[in-house]
């Protein structure tokens, strides 16, 4: 997951969401396409219209200066940020799509990204055709962030506990217990995988598969132990006889797994994810499912891919659920579609589990794999519109 900032969004997804929602830009006063042109220079912030109608508006912001600039829509008090677009390099144009309700606002260009910026007034007049803008949207966003942060923290705390117990069983040579705990412990990791991925080297240290390694790279983490618990035959191991880890090696790998997991807990403690990061994280989780779980490439020795699959879906569903109250107000069709498609995927997954324990990936038929893959794809497409809808 890459580092993103709240409240800013660029054209494509928001425009698509806007069209689907049946909103059309409603300010013929400016550009032929209804967008408001903004030109930001070192000394000026020219906005092509200072009075617009309520509803969905696209600001087409061009940096005509020589420093990086930003464009803000602020509340009447000039303090509260309604929406912003940042990182506009010299000569580059970015779109800011925002839904505004009737009232007085300020516009601001911020060349050089410092100070209060070059301010102007913006009046938004009543528009009976425009959609309602929730006055308490800021509150809804804060709620979403709080809920998701709590979920992440809880999952990582549970992950630490489960990992310690798993590592202990493995170290002590109780392989049956370790095998039993493997998938349930990893489930917590899979639920919040994009969080781990946001900490550079932690994800490969914890979750690299053998195929992911480059020549000479040390292999640590879950999958190193997986292979030792479900030892391959020489035939399955590229023709080479598998050499089990010694007790000392076991202790080393197990201790490092616990240490790295605690490091993840430490680093994520103060993580404040923004709504767009939450939405994009959900997309990232489904990409994970499509890339390795649905193909059986994640757990090539334990074949517990379906449990990881469930973990990714759980995480994406929670991200969606916390954002749903905001998205629903803006595009009820989208949330209806997402509700149905999450349910479809879950229903398919349920067919392969008994009391929360999934069948081995190897037991799935080609048709069943294809069915799961299709369901994921079908969910992924509308889910990719969630972030744009939420922040517009």
């Amino acid at each position: 997951m890459t580092s993103h900032h709240i409240l800013s969004t660029f054209a494509i997804t928001s425009l698509a969401a806007m069209t689907l929602a049946g909103c059309t830009p409603n300010n013929p006063a400016s550009g032929f396409d209804g967008s408001i042109k903004v030109s930001s220079t070192e000394s000026e912030c020219k906005v092509s219209a200072t009075e617009i109608k309520a509803g969905n508006t696209v600001f087409n912001v061009t940096n005509d200066g020589s420093q990086v600039t930003e464009f803000y829509i602020l509340a009447e008090d000039g303090l509260r940020i309604i929406s912003e677009v940042e990182n506009i390099g010299p000569g580059i144009t970015r779109n800011l799509t925002v839904t505004l309700s009737e009232g007085n606002y300020k516009t601001a260009c911020k060349p050089g990204m410092v100070g209060d910026g070059i301010r102007g007034d913006l009046t938004v007049t009543a528009n009976p055709d425009a959609q309602e803008v929730s006055a308490d949207e800021q509150k809804l966003r804060e709620d979403a962030q709080t809920q998701y942060a709590a979920y992440t923290k809880d999952q990582i705390d549970q992950l630490v506990t489960a990992t310690e117990s798993f590592a202990e069983a493995y170290k002590s040579g109780d392989d049956d217990a370790a095998r039993e705990q493997y998938a349930p412990a990893r489930l917590h990791f899979e639920r919040v995988e994009p969080v781990a991925e946001s900490f550079g080297d932690l994800d490969p240290a914890l979750d690299a598969r053998e195929a992911d390694l480059e020549e000479g790279q040390e292999w640590t983490g879950w999958h190193r132990i997986e292979k030792d618990l479900w030892q391959p035959t020489a035939e399955e191991n590229d023709g080479k006889k598998y050499t089990p880890l010694t007790d000392a090696e076991r202790a080393e790998v197990a201790d490092k797994l616990v240490e790295d997991t605690k490091s993840l807990q430490e680093k994520s403690r103060d993580l404040a994810l923004t709504v767009d990061q939450i939405g994009n994280g959900a997309k990232g989780l489904l990409d994970e499912v499509a890339a390795s779980k649905v193909t059986g490439e994640e757990e090539i020795w334990s074949h517990t891919d379906l449990s990881d699959f469930q973990g990714n879906i759980d995480g994406a569903k929670v991200a969606y659920d916390v954002l749903k109250p905001i998205a629903e107000k803006k595009d009820a069709e989208l949330t209806k579609d997402l509700d149905k498609k999450f349910a479809d995927v879950q229903q398919l997954l349920d067919q392969h589990s008994t009391d929360g324990t999934f069948v081995s990936y190897e037991e799935l038929s080609e048709d069943q794999v294809r069915e799961l893959s299709d369901a994921i794809d079908s969910l992924s497409e509308p889910l990719s519109k969630l972030t744009g809808t939420v922040v517009s």
Binding site: G91, D212, E214, N280, A290, T295
Partner: protein, 420 residues
């Protein structure tokens, strides 16, 4: 078979469409396809086969490609040399836009397979390369008595992070890259060269490319890859001979341990890189641009200006450098790679599906460099381990070939320096 120094065809110079001297084929009695009528001159839209360097490297990149890797079946250097001689003659004829041999004898199969009969030369270029496995086999055994001529630079490409290489898309004793404006012309050339090799070399793998992803001349517009971004903006161009001499054409100065027979040659590195286009298409524009480091429509660096303006890596944005340091532009730029540059000449491909409802589509990456140890492998390692783009890529094929220098004239042939 004719003797080694006796050309199978005689040729005379003719003027090509671009005003360049183009060698055209005409049939003499002694040829491999003796007795065919003599075409007067090369087609207007043809490139010269003979020259200091092989064609298809600095030649303005054509839009279509058929690439093939072959494994050699013959066991003596003499047989291999004959194959290279026959290929050289055939390549000159094909590139001139002419038919091979005779297609009039009612009792024999036509020499030329025929599917390019009514087509022009379509700027066909043919580029031949030699893989490491041609010199030494898997056990390090000398195959043809020229293991001592194996260039130090023709290494095994090490396994990279996330590599999902497939055997039937990787390696090979020989390669032929055919590029043309018309896909049928490229396929026709490969098909006929493979046919000529019958019993002596067999196809190991093959790849079609439908659109160039790089420009190798300043006269060309920068094309786009399947992520929708301009690709190869900074690729080396034919107009800059000094940079080509420095980074593309192999010499003792730019490639340690370079054997004489490779002077003026190059190394051709391929990677078949599947692009996970469906997840990419669902990524917000901002994420896409941050990953590439350029704007999507203009191809301008995120630090501003136009496509060909130099990126300003020191420019700060909100939350970090405005061109992120894990972006493709930043990591692959010469500034971060000891000033090293590549001549990229890759092609977009689509090739069926992955069986799970997704297109198998991506980039057949091709780069020509003077030494892969300094000009390719370090960048590949950076890209596979640090580049944000790699999250959307899967490398499933890899090969490296030594591309000998150009074939000088009718008496010369591919890799002739190896046989001296």
């Amino acid at each position: 078979m004719p003797t080694n120094n006796q050309p199978r065809f005689t040729r005379r110079a003719a003027l090509g469409g671009a005003g360049a001297a183009v060698a055209a084929a005409s049939a003499a009695g002694a040829g491999y396809w003796a007795g065919r009528p003599a075409p007067a001159q090369a087609a207007d839209d043809s490139h010269a086969f003979y020259g200091e360097h092989q064609s298809g490297i600095e030649t303005p990149a054509q839009d279509r490609m058929h690439f093939v890797a072959l494994n050699v079946k013959v066991e003596t250097a003499e047989e291999l040399k004959e194959l290279f001689q026959e290929w050289s003659e055939a390549a000159a004829i094909l590139m001139a836009g002419h038919e091979l041999g005779d297609a009039t004898n009612y009792e024999t199969p036509p020499d030329d397979t025929g599917e390019a009969m009514d087509l022009s030369a379509a700027h066909l270029t043919l580029t031949f390369g030699l893989g490491r496995s041609l010199f030494v086999d898997g056990n390090g055994k000398d195959r043809f008595g020229f293991a001592h001529q194996l260039p130090e630079a023709l290494v095994e490409v090490p396994k990279m992070r996330g590599d999902a290489l497939e055997e039937n898309r990787s390696g090979g004793d020989l390669c032929i890259q055919a590029c043309a404006d018309d896909p049928q012309v490229a396929v026709h050339a490969i098909r006929n060269l493979v046919r000529i090799a019958s019993g002596r070399a067999v196809v190991a793998w093959s790849q079609l490319g439908f659109g160039r992803t790089s420009s190798t001349s300043t006269t060309q517009k920068t094309p786009r890859n399947l992520f929708g971004f301009k690709d190869g903006t900074n690729s080396l161009k034919t107009e800059n001979a000094d940079l080509l001499a420095q980074h593309v054409w192999t010499s003792t100065e730019n490639s340690k341990g370079n054997p004489n027979w490779m002077n003026g040659g190059s190394y051709l590195a391929t990677r078949r890189i599947r692009m996970l286009i469906e997840p990419w298409d669902r990524a917000p524009l901002r994420e896409q641009e941050d990953i590439i480091g350029r704007t999507k429509r203009e191809g301008a660096p995120l630090s501003g200006g136009g496509e060909f303006d130099a990126p300003d890596f020191s420019m700060k944005g909100r939350g970090g450098p405005i061109i992120p340091h894990n972006s493709h532009l930043y990591l692959m730029h010469p500034d971060q790679n000891n000033g090293v540059q590549m001549l990229r000449r890759g092609f977009n491909y689509t090739d069926g599906t992955d069986g799970l409802g997704h297109l198998d589509a991506g980039l057949f990456f091709i780069a020509f460099v003077c030494d892969p140890r300094t000009h390719f492998i370090p960048m590949l390692r950076t890209m596979t381990s640090s580049d944000a783009l790699s999250e959307y890529l899967k490398h499933n094929g890899s090969a490296l070939f030594a591309v000998p220098p150009g074939i000088r004239d009718e008496n010369d042939f591919i890799a002739s320096g190896l046989f001296e």
